[in-house]
Amino acid sequence: MLTMLPQQLVNGLTLGSTYALIALGLTLVFGVLLIPNFAHGELYMLGAFSTYALVGAGVNFWLAVVIATLIVIAIGVVLDRVVFQPLEHSSSLSLMIAALAASIILQQGATIAWGSEPRTTPTPIPGVLRMAGFSIAYFQIFIIGVTLAAWGGVWLVLNRSRLGLAIRAVAQNRGAAQLMGIELRDVRIATFAIGALLGGLGGAILSANFPVYPTMGINPVLKAFVVLVLGGIGNLWGAILGGLLLGIVEVMVAGYISSQLQDVGTFLILVLVLLLRPQGLFGRVVLER
């Protein structure tokens, strides 16, 4: 049994990368802009489908990833413009409902365009590294690497760039940031774009490792929210570590207990945490509009 452990860990880290990338994007959009973006999972899904479609049309995988990511960023910005900006001054309930509608529209649009059977993109880096007791696909290493790089990139932008400073200022205190001349509109577009980038990039790359289908975004987004509840919003560390950890836990549950109970396991953790420590593991205040 334990001989499977290293393999499970590797698989868990790969799965967890999905959650981590989505949680990272979500924590930015939700934490900074207070936008309850239900549709975030669909950005991930569209990244995957765009890549699939481009590769199917003969485009080189890596080029497809870049193009797909750009497409998703564009979709994300349009989403913000059409759905969230007009409702800027409405209640968060209105925003949520609108986001839910957008989510359904994107899901069903994708279903009509591609059907609901899962698709796969062939792996761009074939081959497996055989180690003592387990094997890890080169592509899996790549995925985990991209996740860590994404985290590093976001950290750099937030902490070492002017844009990042503006974003953090807005997250702390909108009013004061505005008074100091920070263009809220620019920060908004940039934050949303970064969020969309993370989701889309994740979807693009992971399309070569996991099946692609129109409702593939729902589950990861749910898990990402679990990660946010546990780790606190705006907490970059929490998003990445929490996501990776969750992936490992899920793979363990699926492997050692039952694959049907995989999701139940995650929610049980959430339930336990909510019962024992409603403010999450790191005690961050749940931001309210």
Binding site: Q107, Q108, T111, I218, F225
Partner: protein, 333 residues
């Protein structure tokens, strides 16, 4: 007192008219009307939670399913009578709903919605997994139809319709009682401003738990009736992104917080042909677009638009306009 009487009289009048019209409409229209009435029961009770208390729950599709499967188990397997099983299914769904609520209310806003989404998804999975109870992917067959009502010689379709209308009538009146009670006032306060509600001594937990339990109870009864008139249920009728989502659309498009608006929403949207049992991608897409359009341009729904038109007409008819007061010039929040 006069408006109080009106609250009971008007719905009863509608019920009487609808029942009287039943023998004169054909079977297909009756079928659609019956489903519309069941959706209306869902919509009205869901509005109590969404429109009045301000909480977006995506677990109610699963609660609808709990009612349906419990109904099947009680009537088909345990031989209970329909009329006894109906409220019991409501109570079972309510009990499950209370457990869900106790959990979910530890969060708020988006986290609440996402948590109920997750619970709804797990519930949906359970309908597949608990094969011995639910029949799994194949579904639960052989659910008996509701027994014929006494003193009315109606055929099966007509009978179903009248029973559905009766359930809707009960739901609507009960919702009215809730909304006019102190609990209803508390729910409204919670929706508008939770901090202020607390500062006024309103018991937040009790009020919103009651609202959730209320909506869960009627979702369960609707589910039971749905199973009885279809004689069959399968898990796909209780998915989150279809049924759970549709409930939101009905309430928002009909008019959040009005109770009668969602009935309109149910009637209008049930006439979309493919939604009768399981929504197809096209109708779901249409629902999504409709929801978005209403959210952006008519957030108060059809009820809101009608009320606006009514007031505009009244204003035009008024001989002397009331003096206009100063608009709020300074930010107050």
């Amino acid at each position: 007192m006069q408006s109080r009487l009106r609250c009971y009289l008007v719905p009863t009048a509608f019920l009487a008219v609808a029942c009287a019209a039943t023998p004169f409409i054909n079977d297909y229209v009756r079928y659609v009307a019956t489903l519309a009435a069941i959706w209306a029961v869902l919509a009205v009770s869901f509005d109590v939670l969404l429109g009045y208390t301000g909480y977006l729950s995506l677990a109610h599709g699963a609660l609808f399913g709990v009612g349906a499967y419990t109904g099947g188990l009680l009537t088909a397997r345990a031989g209970w009578s329909f009329w006894l099983a109906l409220p019991v299914c409501g109570l079972v769904a309510m009990a499950v709903g209370i457990v869900v609520a106790l959990l979910a209310f530890r969060t708020k806003g988006l986290y609440f919605a996402v948590l109920t989404l997750g619970i709804g998804l797990i519930g949906f999975q359970m309908f597949f997994v608990a094969e011995d109870w639910t029949g799994g992917v194949v579904g639960f067959v052989g659910i008996p139809s509701p027994p014929p009502l006494p003193f009315m010689s109606l055929d099966a379709a007509g009978n179903n319709l009248v029973i559905a209308l009766l359930l809707l009538w009960v739901t609507y009146l009960a919702a009215g009682v809730f909304v006019r009670s102190p609990m209803g006032a508390a729910s409204l306060a919670i929706r508008e401003d939770v901090v202020l509600a607390q500062a006024l001594g309103i018991r937040i937990s009790a009020a919103r738990l009651t609202a959730f339990a209320f909506s869960a109870f009627f979702a369960g009864t609707a589910g039971m009736l749905f199973g009885a008139i279809s004689n069959f249920v399968a898990p796909e009728s209780f998915a989150v992104m279809t049924t759970g989502f549709q409930m939101v659309v009905l309430v928002v498009v009909g008019g959040m917080g009005t109770l009668w608006g969602p009935i309109l929403g149910a009637i209008l949207l049930t006439t979309l042909p493919e939604t009768l049992r399981v929504a197809s991608s096209y109708s779901l897409l249409a629902y999504g677009v409709l929801l978005l359009v209403f959210m952006l341009f008519a957030p108060k729904g059809i009820a809101g638009l009608l009320k606006q038109a009514w007031h505009a007409r009244r204003a035009r008819q008024a001989a002397v306009a009331a003096p206009a007061a100063q608009p709020v010039t300074e930010g107050v929040r």
